[in-house]
Amino acid sequence: MSDYPPKLTAIIALFESLPEEEKRENLIAYSEQAKKHEPKPGEAFDLEDVRKDEECTDTVGVFLRVDADKGAHFRITLGPQVQTLTKAMTSILCKGLDGATLDEIMALPADFVPKIVGGQLVRIRSQTVYYILTRMKGAVKVFLNRLRAAQG
């Protein structure tokens, strides 16, 4: 547990304490919050990555803002065909990684996903549950590469 950013650790702990049915109810509640994590009017970002690729069933946009303390703040847009689990993970990750450092995000292992989702739901045809984390890490990596290039 200690490897995860504090806010994500709290979410993981909550899900691990829940029986399967309540876990599902909470995932649905998180999925219904996904729209709240879309970019707001007037917000500026350090990196925007909007695309549809073979890992997901619809377009996903990742918007990254990095604050003065190198803390990351994400906004995500999801196409209408994105699965419910992917929507839930979007809310969980936007909330759980808010303010985490870029290094923390790059070092984050994906092994927390089954702890949140439960082993029963991570199965064939629901693997896109890992996709949002991959895209977030991808955005951080591009940002860091640009930063290093700018620093010469």
């Binding site: 109810e25 995932l27 649905i28 073979e54 419910t84 199965r123 629901s126």
Partner: protein, 287 residues
């Protein structure tokens, strides 16, 4: 029963969203939602619909096979379904899993089945009612079927191999890239564990999507006949086998051939490419 029958062979099996909206509480019916998205039903579903999951409810938890007749009977009883109940299926992904569940019901001899044309997406796009309230059907009596009718509508590896060797119709309903062996998964999905790409020798490529319009509803019978009877030269008395990766897209084509065009000897090879593409010494064509 449906006003959009387009001269189908068995028009009574296909119902429109309009028809369903007017028959939500019809006696001796049960609406069943089956999806790829495992949580979608719980986010809201057609009023009165129960949920049947393609894996948790219909597949054996250990062996790659379907449940036994006794388990099927218990599943039906729990969902208020008797042998006389007309089961109306719908779901996401243009009804892939609804067709899969319908086909699985047919495996157990349950022939009173219908499919909602256009599935869940059409219902939602039309702004029709959804509810999170899960129905609590009274426990029904469903005697365990005497057997599973695998031989009638299900093909196994040996059946598909014999079909290939005898030059009989094999319909590959996957995407063209999968058929040609350029990719080993659906274009928008992660890899699902297949070692080799290509298709069964002699198979014809007719992606499932060929049978539907943009809104997921089925094309009229004349257009479907042009695709399968003319384009593939399928004859009404021939043995036909359809396959995809795990049997869900080919369930959709099985439905089209069986109910909309009236072919009588259509089987779904549910082992499909995840079996064939991993099987040692299984012959493969790439083109």
């Amino acid at each position: 029963m449906s006003e959009t029958n387009y001269a189908y062979a068995h028009p009574e099996v296909l119902v429109s969203t309009e028809w369903l909206a007017e028959h939500l509480e019809a006696p001796d019916t049960r609406i069943v939602e089956s999806n790829e998205d495992v949580l979608l039903y719980s986010t809201g579903h057609i009023p009165g619909a129960v949920h049947i999951d393609w894996r948790d409810d219909l597949q054996d938890p250990l062996v790659r096979d379907y449940i036994e007749p006794e388990t099927f009977a218990a599943l039906c009883a729990k969902n208020g379904i008797t042998p006389e109940t007309t089961v109306i299926f719908y779901g996401d992904k243009s009804n892939w899993w609804a067709c899969y569940a319908l086909w699985a019901f047919r495996l157990f001899g349950h022939t009173k089945v219908k499919l909602v044309d256009g599935g869940r997406d059409k219902w939602v796009k039309e702004g029709r009612a959804l509810t999170k309230e899960k129905p609590q059907p009274a426990m029904a009596e469903y005697p365990a079927p005497a057997k599973r009718f695998d031989a009638d509508i299900r093909a196994f590896y040996d059946d598909a191999l014999a079909q290939s060797q005898e030059g009989l119709p094999l319909i590959d309903v996957r995407s063209p890239g999968e058929f040609r062996g350029e990719i080993t998964h659906m274009p928008e999905y992660p890899q699902e564990g297949v070692l080799r790409g290509g298709h069964i020798p002699g198979a014809k490529s007719v992606p499932w999507k060929t049978a539907v319009r943009e809104d997921g509803t089925f094309k009229p019978a004349t257009e479907l006949a042009g695709i399968y009877a003319v384009g593939c030269e399928l004859k009404s008395d021939e043995n036909i086998i359809a396959y995809c990766r795990i049997g869900e897209r080919s369930s959709h084509t099985w439905f089209v051939l069986t109910y909309l065009l009236g072919y009588e000897k259509v089987r779904n090879y549910d082992g499909s490419w995840t079996e064939w593409g991993n099987r040692v010494r299984a012959p493969i064509e790439r083109s």
